[in-house]
């Protein structure tokens, strides 16, 4: 697997229009950390203050998390970002090539009152040219600078791999941090400290994004029994999503946002129901005395994957949302739970128990080619990035449960949260608009 070319060999311009400059070299899969890139702090073009350094720090971290890049040490940089040029005609490409840079990011920032303008370019160092597909001018407020950096990272990955990166997004998760019981928190890739979203004073779980990215559903015990609620990310208003007295353990929106699959606990028998947008029953998708739980939609909205103990131990099954036979896809291990279908449709991830610990498995959508991608600590509850390239899950590798991001082959793994609390049940948002 190592060294596999996952994207395109760019040397001869197979992706970009041949007339344009293209970054020379090959880019290998996440975990290769092989594509040598230098990210220079943005030049202060007036009033920029520390914004240029902040932009470079956030962009560098995104590129590092992606697993494709070797970020060159700023101490080796050959040009002073504040005095050197930011266009191809004024850059010392020979010097950058001498420190090994295949690509270089440079740009400028100016700020007037609350307004900020950022201009950023990617340069192909061996070809001594800029890459117009990546070059961007952003305008916004000071608080928008992190998103400008994320959008630049996503554009660099789009150009080099053919698929935009996932960094202009957020991860929702559950934590008991701050001495509270449990609440939902939001983490973006520009901060170490997540932002608390809910104020439940109860136990919450199972956050899932609405496909438009503007609301999250979650489980809460706020009314004694567990039910599903939805919080609007703009107003922070919370409403009960599924009416009725029957406890609801978790739920997931269909990719088009028109239907819900939920797990309901009818007096000790957990089964999966298909509901309309208002929470009305469309059909009982499963009806079995065993445990059926944790449905996840295929991206075409026709199939679902879930966990069932119908053979005596939890295993992973796939079925059609509108009926028909179920097909077991987990073939190894005696305890497999919490499946998640990739938004690209081609893979499913789930949790498996092995050797007394729990690990993340990635399989093809038909169950073939199981691949355990974790080994340190216990790892649970995988969720996919919007580009289907990465997973986020909770891991005890550092002691408490923290969120870890990994590529789907498991070669590049990074802890996203720290501290003395337990961070679990991550859900990765769609890309922001």
């Amino acid at each position: 697997m190592r060294g596999r070319v996952v994207a395109f060999v760019l040397t001869f311009g197979l992706v970009a229009a041949p007339a344009r400059a293209v970054v020379t070299g090959e880019i290998y899969g996440p975990g290769s950390e092989s594509f040598r890139i230098a990210v220079s702090p943005l030049k202060d073009l007036g009033g920029g203050g520390t914004l240029g350094a902040e932009f470079a720090r956030i962009l560098s971290r995104d590129l590092e998390l992606s697993g494709y890049f070797k970020l060159l040490d700023p101490k080796t940089f050959v040009e002073d970002p504040q005095t050197s040029g930011i266009t191809a005609d004024a850059i010392d490409f020979t010097g950058w090539a001498a420190i090994g840079a295949q690509a270089l990011v440079k740009g400028g920032v100016s700020a007037h009152g609350p307004g900020v303008t950022v201009e950023v370019r990617l340069f192909d160092v061996p070809a001594r040219k800029d890459v117009p597909q990546v070059g961007r001018r952003f305008t916004g407020g000071r608080a928008d600078v992190p998103r400008m950096a994320h959008k630049t990272a996503d554009a660099i990955l789009a150009y080099l791999t053919g698929e935009p990166g996932p960094f202009d997004s957020a991860i929702a998760f559950v934590s008991n941090r701050g001495g509270r019981l449990k609440d939902i928190y939001l983490l973006t890739f520009d901060r170490e400290d997540p932002v608390r979203l809910t104020d439940e004073r109860s136990i919450v779980g199972a956050p899932e994004w609405r496909p438009d990215g503007r609301a999250l559903l979650f489980r809460s015990y706020r009314e004694h029994f567990p039910y599903l609620y939805e919080i609007d990310l703009g107003s922070h208003q919370v409403r009960k999503l599924v009416p009725g007295p029957v406890p609801v353990l978790n739920g997931a929106w269909s990719p088009d946002g028109s239907r819900l699959l939920v797990t309901r606990d009818r007096g000790g028998d957990a089964n999966i129901d298909l509901l309309d947008r208002a929470g009305g029953l469309l059909r009982h998708v499963t009806d079995h005395w065993a445990i059926d739980v944790s449905p996840s939609w295929s991206p075409d909205g026709r199939h679902f994957v879930f966990c069932s103990s119908r053979t005596g131990a939890p295993q992973i099954y796939v079925g059609d949302v509108d009926g028909g036979p179920l097909r077991r896809i987990s073939t190894t291990g005696s305890y497999n739970t919490s499946p998640a279908w990739s938004p690209k449709g081609d893979h499913i991830a789930y949790t498996t128990r092995t050797g007394g610990a729990f690990q993340i498995v990635v399989v093809d959508a038909d169950g073939a080619n199981p691949h355990v991608i974790t080994s340190a600590g216990s790892n649970e509850d995988p969720a996919w990035s919007p580009d289907g390239r990465y997973l986020v899950f909770s891991s005890t590798r550092g002691g408490r449960h923290h969120l870890v991001m990994a590529d789907r082959d498991g070669r590049s793994q990074h802890e996203l949260t720290r501290g003395a609390a337990d961070d679990t049940s991550p859900a990765w948002s769609p890309r922001r608009e």
Partner: protein, 176 residues
């Protein structure tokens, strides 16, 4: 004979705990609209011990045992072994002698495995206990069930003995 003695001991324990239960009741919110929380429940006896979630809200550990003893399970199992059935036989005696008492059965799990599966497993455990008590003649209307899965453990050590304590069904007395 020994059974009668045990019953009297249990009721004695209940009387001793009355002032404490009353104090708890004033501080915390009510256990909620659980199916068993009937109107006109006796002052100071409703919420004895409190649900595990109510106790967590007050910063208290979940109650272990109580007047009605906890029953325990094997990993990823919800069937009742002979020890569990013996405990439930005694709990049924108490329920017969306190015929107005309603209970809520809380299903709990150890922290191994994923959260949603364990919620469903805790629900199975509570159901197994309810079915057994109903089989002994206790009215189903007096028993509600709820699962907390692995959310409210008694202990947090990664040891067999701690896991075993956490795999339990705990009975909360809602009122008499």
């Amino acid at each position: 004979m020994s059974r009668a003695v045990r019953t009297w001991t249990a009721i004695g324990a209940a009387l001793l705990l009355l002032p404490l239960a009353g104090a708890c009741k004033k501080k915390g919110p009510q256990p909620g609209a659980g199916a068993g929380a009937g109107a006109g429940a006796g002052l100071g006896e409703e919420g004895l011990g409190g649900s595990s979630l109510e106790r967590a809200r007050r910063g208290l550990a979940p109650e272990e045992d109580g007047i009605l003893k906890d029953v325990h399970f094997a990993f990823d199992k919800y069937d009742l072994d002979s020890e569990a059935r013996a405990i439930l036989d005694r709990n049924a005696d108490w329920l017969r002698q306190n015929s107005r008492a309603k209970i809520e059965l809380e299903g709990h799990c150890d922290d191994r495995g994923t959260i949603e599966y364990n919620l469903a497993l805790g629900a199975k455990r509570a159901k197994a206990v309810k079915d057994y008590l109903v089989g002994l003649g206790i009215e189903a209307e007096r028993i509600s069930t709820i699962s907390y899965g692995e959310e409210l453990p008694l202990c947090r050590e990664e040891t067999e003995s701690c896991w075993a304590r956490n795999r339990r069904v705990h009975a909360v007395i809602l009122g008499k």
